[in-house]
Amino acid sequence: MKIGIIGNPNVGKSLIFSSLSGVGVEVTNYPGTTVGLQSGTVCCQKNQIELLDLPGIYSLDGLSDEESLVRDVIQHKEIDALLVITDAAHLERNLYLLLQIAEYDIPLVIVLNMVDEAKKQGLIIDTGRLSHLIGSPVIETIATEGKNIDKILPLTISEATPATIPVFYDRHIEAGIRSLNKMFGISKTEALLALQGIERREEITEASDTISTEIENEHRMSVSQIIAANRHHAAKNLASEVCQKTKRMEHSGIDRFLTKTIPGIPILLCVIIGMLLCVFIIGTWMEEQIVLLFDNLLINPLLALHLDPLVSEIAFSVLIALQAGLGIAFPFILTFYLLISYIEDTGYMTRAAFLADRTMHHFGLHGQAIIPMVLGFGCNVPAIMGIRNLTSKRERIIASFLITMVPCSARTVIIAGIVAAFVGIAYAFSIYLIIFFLLILTGFIFSRVIPGQQLGMVLEMPPLRKPSLYQVIIRSWIHIREFLFIAMPLLIVSSIILGIFEYFGILSVIEGVFAPMMESLLGLPDFVLTALLFGILRKEMAFETLVVLAGTADLLTVMTKVQLYIFAIVSTLFVPCISTIAVLGHEIGWRYAFLISGYTILLGLATGAVIHGINLMIP
């Protein structure tokens, strides 16, 4: 039996899903989309049940990726039953989606979640009456306390029934549905979609367009607006029939502070900087430990074995790839996701997005983009994974370009280790300034060049809540696992290729080919190219490799200050690391991943060349 879990965002859907399915959760991409679907298998009353957590949506007639996906799943009846999760405290809004789901003939169980919150707000809901009116069973739950969660699946197996409650549409719409049904034999739901111009077969287009135009002329309102208004009206009636409000709800006082310029913006800055420091400090510390552990327990013993040189080289490549992957994945992504999931679950993110909306507009982005942008300072990988929350493809592309330019902690190591240590602290800061300038310039230009328009932000601000720690940990774990699956294979393969290149001397051939260019364009010695290439595996490896190749930790003996400065800025800008490229490919497609890589290579080389040029001109 396959059961889908559906509901509005912020109704505790994911919590119910993870309470029902435990840790055995799988994340798969729905065919043809980048929307991730979580599924899990459980056993209940000797039935094997596959649970599918559908993304949170507001409507089945929406146009976003998530909404189209859910519509697809429901239309093709890919599930045997649906659990409709609703927020008891905001029943009316939730009924809007429920009424749409009711039109598809699928067995339902309605989960009335957060009844404790509703009670606190003085709402009394007559569950029996609700169930009677809708025609499907209703169960009250408090997911955060686990109340009644165990009863959901048995009830679904035994009693899930399709809803019988109809929405009465405007008579013209009803007439349109009847005509389309008579002409093409399509169902009510198909006719409604066709009339709204959302989805339809080609032969229907003309007829449905004619009917829609007629209705729109008559009402001077779009068909979608009429249908939405009818549904909202039905939801309102239904809610007023079953809900009784005993007192007026009061919003929490803290919220009033968070969305005011003062102290909202200072608080936002503190949260961002605090998070960054946490990710940076904890991440760097853990990374050091992991790298050290690998060196001591695996890499050094391997080198001491004196195996066949080729075997040794390949094994070594695999190990440094694992080291790079785990060195990034665990420290940074774990800390990042623990923090971000916690803050996300409190509902603070939407307040931050509200405050930052205006500023982000200058880059062609919206408020939601602030969080991934800032987190890029810790590590680009989770930052890129975070752009999923952005609404349009255009925004995701602009954000990806910008995030890959944000100097992550690994690049900070290069800047600190090379420039601050050998050239001077002021010069290290100048690198940041140059990067920020380029970043702002890129955002400014791209927001004007990349086609598509700014859609504007429509974001629900759920009440502030206390997150469940269990939920936070589960989510972080799922993300880390996802990263490992995406990035590890690529990391290992590219590391082996680099190792083999080095073994067979191909690297020195490449060095030989590019040496004149490196020399004339950037004024750098030829061995630097190898360091840059290794930097692609893990950014700070550019620094480590340089030291190894130079044969000394005192880099000033082999390179001039200007050369070090140019090397640092080129390797900072030049190509995101393999893990970032892998995640980019996964999130926005390989075409853009390569475009972004190409852009950063050009940007890095151009900036390096300009600095070299300026240096040559100064006597």
Binding site: Y58, H219, M249, T259, D357, R358, G367, G456, V458, P462
Partner: protein, 213 residues
């Protein structure tokens, strides 16, 4: 409580004012409303007392701001009803006008608003409607209201996010509350159906509304 005859008088004054006459005499009114002069004087004194009209030195009569509003409202009711009776129900213009004169005094504002909306859908060409269409006022965007205002949404222009707005309940006819508005940041937070939603400035600008109690 204002009597039907008072309303008729204010309506008449409003219409003559609209036709360019700043003031009218008692005789003209008595003629138009078909009333004896003696009866008219009582009504005029009454209306002057309630601050609806001003009685001039030369026995000429003009409207105050308050009286003008009432007159305008009645005149609108009249033309909407007349349009409905004539154009939709097919009555002769004359009977329609006479009937409208009687009904206009006992019809609520809501009935007229809804009837007007209903008429404007199909019978755009009705000449009476055309006149009042020009008088229709332009509503301001919801971004211009203050925190705490309750706003009735009147018009929503199309934009790529309209679908989402409709799905979360932001539709013409729905009442929302402005919860938060920042000076530098033009984004706003509104409350609709007990849920807070934050909107970008470009979204707020396509939604217009009017303040309600």
């Amino acid at each position: 409580m204002i009597e039907p005859v008072d309303e008729d008088l204010l309506e008449h004054l409003f219409l003559s004012e609209k036709n360019g006459k700043q003031s009218v005499t008692r005789e003209e009114i008595a003629n138009a409303l078909n009333l004896p002069l003696s009866e008219l004087d009582d009504i005029l004194l009454n209306l002057a007392g309630s601050n609806d009209i001003v009685l001039g030195k030369n026995a000429d009569i003009s409207l105050t701001q308050k009286g003008r509003r009432t007159g305008e409202k009645i005149s609108r009711k009249h033309s909407v009803l007349e349009c409905f009776l004539h154009e939709m129900l097919g009555m002769s213009m004359d009977t329609a006008s006479k009937q409208a004169c009687l009904i206009e005094h006992n019809t609520s504002d809501e009935t007229i608003d809804r009837l007007d909306h209903y008429l404007s859908a199909g019978y755009r060409w009705c000449r009476h409607r055309k006149k009042s269409r020009q008088e229709e006022r332009e509503y301001p965007s919801i971004g211009t209201f203050q925190e705490g205002d309750r706003i009735l949404i009147t018009v929503m222009n199309a934009c790529p996010r309209t679908r989402r707005l409709m799905d979360i309940g932001i539709l013409p006819g729905e009442t929302i509350i402005i919860k938060r508005k920042l000076g530098a940041n033009k984004s706003i937070v509104i409350e609709v159906k007990d849920i807070e939603i934050c909107l970008s400035p470009e979204i707020a600008s396509i939604i217009t509304g009017e303040k309600v109690g």
